[in-house]
Amino acid sequence: MSAARRCSPPRAMAGLLFWHLKSTGVRQTPCQFVHLCHVAHDRLITFQYFNFLKRMYVTRCNRDLSQRAKPKADSVASPVRELQQLDQEKKVIHQIRPVPPVYQPLSEPLRRNELREKKPAAGAEELVPAVRAEPREDRQWKEMKLRLEELPGILARLSKIKLTALVVSTASAGFAMAPVPFDLTCFLLASLGTGLASCAANSINQFFEVPFDSNMNRTKNRPLVRGQLSPLLAVCFAASCGVPGITLLTLAVNPLTGALGAFNIFLYTCCYTPLKRISIANTWVGAVVGAIPPVMGWTAATGSLDAGALLLGGILYSWQFPHFNALSWGLREDYSRGGYCMMSVTHPGLCRRVALRHCLALIGLSTAAPLLDITTWTFPLISLPLNLYISYLGFRFYRDADRSSSRKLFFCSLWHLPLLLLVMFTCKKSFLEKEDKDLLPEGHGRATEMRLP
């Protein structure tokens, strides 16, 4: 998947390089090359693409989780001779040019390879951190001065932007599943409000956990841990996201959604975060936190808390367990040392039982969907293989209780949820259909309740 997708950019870059070299002449090339490197860097094309030229590429299987280096088979030789020439010239360039302090193209891939060997599987919420120049910079002393150009990146990491995106997408799923005509403005406002609320909650969570995050491999590169941001700024950022977010939800969407959003922030920051270090009950609280966004999406659309909202919330609630329990299985050492009370450490049997239980619950909940008139009966049918597969992995995890089964379950949960929600959406029962069904058997004489859009 990744190899094919990465084919065109390196060629384009190589072509650009070649054109540049030709037009500017070798003498000026070092500066141009550096310039190109910076351009590439800015455009978030990492050095992996240059690696491609050297016939060794890095694949990212499961983008969020791991990288492995694989020496490329010789069969795919550089088609153009110029590319090889480029290679040579590039090597020559690097020998002559003094090493710039920030960007060291050649030595990096090697260092990154070494790092990759040692790196444990990271959690879904954190991408394998930008490995570009990290290991070297990590060993240096840095001035604690906030640079404006770094601020967006820092705030993105502070607000766990990828997790926020997932939360917003579950809220959108809730909105989309609601049996009302689709209102784009409301949808966008609800998504924005939910996103802001999630950013605020995540920032406060990081604010509360600095020394604990420093001691865990998964979280040791967070902005507050690295001193890229002061705690005061983190709190101000959280306030400036949370207050407008909740206000937006309350005033522009509806008060119920706003209340749910505020409650969720409270639950996450003041209940879940401290509870993580006190009792294993934190996992259940965290599951509720994850279940609320789709409920918010539904209430944003309909304005009321229906059975459908609760069902969607229930599906997300059940999904959290196989997802989190499988993840936590591989982090037992870090949790133990960091003082986190997690089922995987204190009650391993319960951890696996609960994961399996909730995988099976997903089957039940999917079956309940058509009974509550949310989807057609196609949904339980199509989702059955998905739910059976995750249940099977849950059973393997329950039985084997080892790292490989936990990882398989975790990876599966990552694609299982989006797919399930997608299938749910495609099997959504059109509300027009429902109204016709309601109207048809009625006689002329009886007053029928018209559902206003």
């Binding site: 240096q140 840095k142 420093s214 705690p231 949790y335 209780a401």
Partner: protein
């Protein structure tokens, strides 16, 4: 002293700091940077910011060298000292805790291997390890043993964090007001 230390988890670090302060640790002069013994780094003289270093190998926390501005106010001094104290407390707690963890882990592995009749290192000289399932008993044990210590530390950490952030807020507010006053004066005058 040792008994208090055992019973009161994180609180002992306050006593320790007080005792070290009374033993004549030099106070920082205004305009100078704090001494950084053993950190192996001095920030450049012209820099007016704090500097943060790589993670400590025992505590995994990043040490900060604080900048003392020549015109440091009382409030700013309180903030700086609170941050220094917090850093020292955290460093002490985590270094000790992590060292205890590694030590107890080694002992556990040794005892388990002995029970199995194996040596710490096998024929090739590689260190023998237990798999994750065998280690799980140790992790569970360690967590429950240190539960009270963590509870104490959590309370202290939350208190310190709020205090420091609040002080930062106050300092920022005072600085902002000062800047506004200066702006008004320079515009008016």
């Amino acid at each position: 002293m040792a008994a208090t230390r055992v019973l009161r988890g994180g609180c002992y670090c306050h006593r320790r700091l007080l005792s070290s302060a009374s033993s004549g640790r030099p106070t920082v002069e205004r305009g100078e940077r704090q001494e950084s013994p053993g950190l192996g780094f001095s920030p450049p003289a012209h820099s007016r910011n704090d500097w943060i270093g790589p993670p400590d190998k025992h505590s995994n926390l990043r040490p900060v060298i604080f900048y003392v501005p020549p015109e440091e106010s009382a409030l700013e001094r309180r903030l700086r000292e609170a941050r220094q104290e917090a850093q020292a407390c955290d460093q002490h707690f985590w270094a000790r805790h992590n060292r205890a963890f590694s030590q107890e882990k080694e002992e556990f592995i040794f005892s388990r291997l002995k029970a199995k009749g194996l040596e710490m290192r096998d024929e090739t000289g590689q260190k023998a390890t237990l798999n994750a399932e065998e280690m799980a008993d140790f992790y569970k044990d360690f967590l429950s043993k240190n539960f009270r210590k963590h509870m104490q530390y959590n309370r202290d950490w939350y208190k310190r964090n709020f205090t420091i952030t609040f002080l930062m807020g106050q300092v920022a507010l005072v600085r902002a007001l000062r800047w506004l006053r200066w702006k008004k004066r320079s515009v008016g005058g």
